[in-house]
């Protein structure tokens, strides 16, 4: 008997209504639809255009798009570690170091988040929604490498419960859960989220206790360029834009390499998973605001530096384009994107308490998105009403 038939005939009934494990149906169903095509691709009656691309497959696209950024990010973790210790053991060892530091975070985020989602789904007897598949990978990618695992677990639990399940689960949340996780960490444990010690791991890959016999270079500082901007010591000439573009500067795990993020962006745009309107307008808004600031200040980062530093590109490509929390109308998408781009640079430059403004800007954008949509729809209605009445 083939495996497929075996599952359909023997395992399936156990979880159906009246079966032995009826209560775990949600969990079973989530794995089943994850591994196989959805049970129902089209209704039996009527003509309809419908294929097997359900939201699980859409989210797989997002995860594929995240891969380049994650790979470069992992290598960069090892690279920064080597720089801090003043050694060089080759790109493969650096990547391996990053992998070992990164993987536990992914596991913790998925186990905690999916655990809560499945529990809630079982209680409500619903299908497990697939939104967390992307969120679970995004969370470890946007935290500093020194974040303890328990912090990720606490923050993930908070965001899944209070930013998502409370609102009704996947598709109902008004704020991006991955960013809520980051915001929770930022406000709950500010010391672990910013400063010049958290972005470069100087200990071993698995835990952060310093390695014996490898003294850290004197005067070493893992400050990100944005930290320098925040304390006023930034000088655009001393920071390499190319390094920031390629991703060999300190920063949260996967947000450093703008090049890798743009590769992911290409995949998202080619498959039409993300909206080009939002992505473009975030970059345009950010560039315009940076140009204005650079014109008035000598030690502000240049436009290119602004777009490559910190989490701006990552937020523009993966966070702002979230279809659930963003704007729905096409005009609204442009306004929403411009708003996020402008706000990200503004917060970054003028609020020294928040060295990185992209997270705040996207959350603020999320809060405003329904209002923007409402205004766009209303103005469209009144425009057409005038045409009818004229």
């Amino acid at each position: 008997m083939k495996l497929n038939d075996y599952i359909n005939e023997k395992i399936d009934p156990l979880f159906q209504k009246g079966g032995k494990y009826e209560k775990l149906w949600s969990v079973y169903d989530s794995f089943h639809t994850f591994l196989f095509v959805p049970r129902h691709t089209a209704a039996r009656k009527g003509v309809q255009v419908h294929d097997s691309v359900d939201s699980k497959r859409v989210i797989m696209m997002v995860i594929l798009a995240l891969v380049p950024a994650a790979l470069v990010g992992m290598w960069n973790v090892g690279y920064q570690h080597d720089l801090a210790l003043g050694i060089n053991d080759g790109w493969f060892m650096q990547f391996l170091y990053g992998l070992v530091a990164f993987l536990p975070k992914v596991v913790v985020s998925y186990v905690v988040g999916l655990g809560i989602e499945m529990t809630v789904a079982c209680i409500k007897r619903e299908e497990v929604a697939e939104g967390f598949l992307a969120t679970g990978l995004l969370i470890p990618m946007i935290v500093p490498v020194n974040t303890p695992l328990w912090m990720i677990a606490v923050a993930t639990a908070f965001s899944v419960i209070f930013a998502k399940e409370i609102f009704g689960g996947t598709g109902m949340n008004i704020f991006n859960p991955a960013l809520i996780t980051r915001a929770f960490l930022f406000f709950a444990y500010p010391k672990a989220m910013s400063g010049d010690e958290v972005f470069v791991r100087t200990g071993s890959a698995l835990c952060n206790s310093p390695i014996e016999g490898t003294a850290v270079v004197d005067g070493f500082s893992g400050a990100t360029p944005l930290a320098a901007v925040a304390d006023g010591s930034f000088d655009p000439a001393t920071y390499s834009t190319i390094d920031a573009f390629l991703g060999c500067i300190p920063g949260s795990i996967a947000e450093t390499s703008t090049l890798a993020i743009l590769l992911g962006a290409c995949l998202l745009l080619l498959t039409r998973v993300a909206s080009w309107r939002i992505m473009l307008s975030v970059f345009v808004g950010g560039a315009a605001m940076s140009a204005i600031i650079a014109a008035f200040s000598d030690n502000a980062p240049t436009v290119c530096q602004q777009l490559c530093f910190g989490g701006f590109a990552f937020a523009a490509v993966f966070m702002a384009t979230d279809p659930v929390t963003g704007c729905r109308t096409n005009t609204g998408k442009f306004i929403y994107g411009l708003f996020i781009g402008v706000m990200a640079i503004l917060i970054r430059m003028f609020n020294t308490g928040y060295p990185e403004g992209a997270m705040m800007a996207v959350l603020l954008g999320n809060a405003c998105a329904p209002l923007i949509d409402y205004c766009v729809v209303k103005s469209n209605i009144s425009k057409r009403a005038k045409r009818v009445n004229a």
Partner: protein, 210 residues
């Protein structure tokens, strides 16, 4: 709320008709003074005293107050009581009084006070009014106390200023428990209040919106 079955004048406001979590009154002070337990407790007691006395006084005067100036009369009574409470706090618990800052003075504008004076004291005899004032004040104090306990425990790792979470420090210098700064923010108080309301509605199905 008028035509539902009447809970006891004193016990009702403690839980099933709680001023904070059912009527959602007095939220601003509940967010502001619950970072630590001591100010929250003092605030709860202060409001209970002011509310009980104001209720009695207004109830005694209820037949002589002209309807058109009743709000002014209520304000005068409440303001006088609040000033007395404020002076007592300054005299005996100065540090807590500093921590509470303007919020004691703002008891005057607390929605629970105005609500109870208008809805109850103006139409009832002094003794029920006293019970009503005590009940509502204690209901408010209880919610404040619960919120403050959670916030102080997780936000600072202390209760009434005493360290209750064992903080072991290992050889690498890491703290055993790290204060969760989020709980010291007003946003956390709102979320905790929301959870209390959630729990309370789940326990009392007749309070749920149809």
């Amino acid at each position: 709320m008028a035509n539902e079955k009447k809970p006891g004048v004193f016990t009702g406001p403690l839980w099933t008709n709680n001023p904070v979590v059912v009527q959602v009154l007095g939220i601003c002070s509940a967010l502001a003074v619950t970072t630590q337990m001591k100010p929250a407790l003092v605030m709860g007691i202060s409001l209970t005293c002011v509310l009980a006395f104001a209720n009695v006084i207004i109830s005694v005067l209820r037949n002589t107050i002209p309807n058109r100036i009743r709000i002014i009369v209520q304000l005068v009574v409440v303001a006088a009581l609040v000033i007395i409470v404020n002076q007592i706090l300054k005299a005996y618990v100065y540090d807590v009084s500093k921590a509470l800052s303007v919020y004691v003075g703002l008891i005057i504008t607390n929605c629970i006070l105005m609500g109870r004076l208008e809805a109850f004291a103006l139409g009832n005899k002094p003794f029920p009014a006293l019970l009503d004032g005590l009940g509502n004040g204690l209901g408010y104090a209880m919610i404040l106390f619960i919120t403050a306990t959670i916030r102080e425990l997780f936000g600072s790792g202390t209760l009434f200023g005493y360290d209750v979470i064992a903080r072991f420090v290992n050889e690498a210098g890491y703290d055993g428990y790290q204060n969760c700064g989020f709980f010291t923010m007003p946003a956390a108080a709102l979320i905790i209040l929301g959870c209390i309301i959630w729990y309370q509605r789940a326990k009392n199905p007749d309070l749920q919106d149809k």
